[in-house]
Symmetry: C2
Subunit: 184 residues, 2 copies
């Protein structure tokens, strides 16, 4: 069962555009962090890039079988600067999604009784809260000239839930099993 | 040296949005092709998804150090349908870039004397011509119930040039060496 209402479909397409561009800039910023000698921050960017891929893919599939071209309008952050600047761009993008975009899209999907879109927006919203926090931690470390301390980053391939060092037995957001988590 | 003019910068951002979304839908359509028992078509989608990443990354870097949020408007194709339908979506998207989008963006970058953007648009335009052809070949095969015949797909990581089975000694578009090509 995929989306029925055109407004929710528009929001899914916009969110897909935003997630696709976030996925892409985190690859660029991750490579930049590695080059600058911050491998853990690089790993964080690459792992979260994958979480954004999960979100984009969820929105895309929720749009269903209606094949066709659309003009998509979506927010994105640009610039390849210093690590602290790139992390600020990441924080700004995540906070926009947490405070503005996903609450409004989720509310609209509830209003239009679009169950699948609610699920897809809810999954993303919960992960973005964690992303904003992790990028802030990485930025605090970078401002002190340090790389963020982490052993590994684990991403739930169903909802994008993101956690450092070890995956939980069950994803706290979607209930997926520990074995499904993708490790970076 | 990055982009100076706001119109060319807008076109770079739009192209970045379009490439990021193409990258993402080819991952989805590639997984779908594999599931349906067309591993070579799946490989083609995954390889070309990487070529679109190269284009997105080139456009992103050309936008330079000007950090900040923007609203991006870009075209994208949606839908998870049959393999033949997904390939039609891919062909439509590539042909739009080849016949409309990149010629106009390249012309504007020439008019505004934006050397870096010309390079980035030129690289993408040349690759998209090949992508349209390869997806058409895969669709012709799929219509006959066959998987496209290929051993491997090779992508130039500088310009996204795409070629089946073996990389050339030098990339015909950007001159990169054979050893740099990424194999799928
Ligand atoms: Fe996301
Ligand atoms: Fe995020
Ligand atoms: Fe999950
Ligand atoms: Fe492309
Ligand atoms: Fe392409
Ligand atoms: Fe090349």
């Amino acid at each position: 069962m995929s989306v029925q209402n055109e407004m929710t479909a528009d929001f899914l397409r916009s969110a897909y555009g935003g997630e696709s561009m976030a996925h892409m800039r985190y690859i660029a910023w991750g490579s930049q962090a590695e080059k600058e000698g911050f491998p853990n921050t690089g790993k964080l960017f690459k792992a979260i890039s994958y979480a954004e891929q999960v979100h984009a893919n969820n929105h895309f599939r929720e749009l269903g079988q209606s094949q066709g071209g659309h003009t998509v309008t979506a927010g994105a952050v640009f610039g390849v600067g210093s690590l602290v600047e790139n992390l600020q761009g990441a924080i700004d993008g995540e906070l926009h999604e947490v405070e503005q975009m996903y609450p409004v899209y989720l509310n609209a999907a509830q209003f239009q009784e679009e169950k699948g879109a609610q699920r897809s927006f809810h999954f993303a919203l919960e992960a973005e809260k964690i992303h904003a926090k992790l990028f802030k931690d990485a930025q605090d470390a970078a401002k002190a000239g340090q790389d963020i301390q982490l052993k590994s980053v684990h991403i739930c391939p169903v909802c994008g839930h993101t956690i450092l060092d070890e995956a939980p037995d069950r994803c706290p957001v979607c209930g997926a099993k520990k074995e499904l988590y993708v490790a970076f």
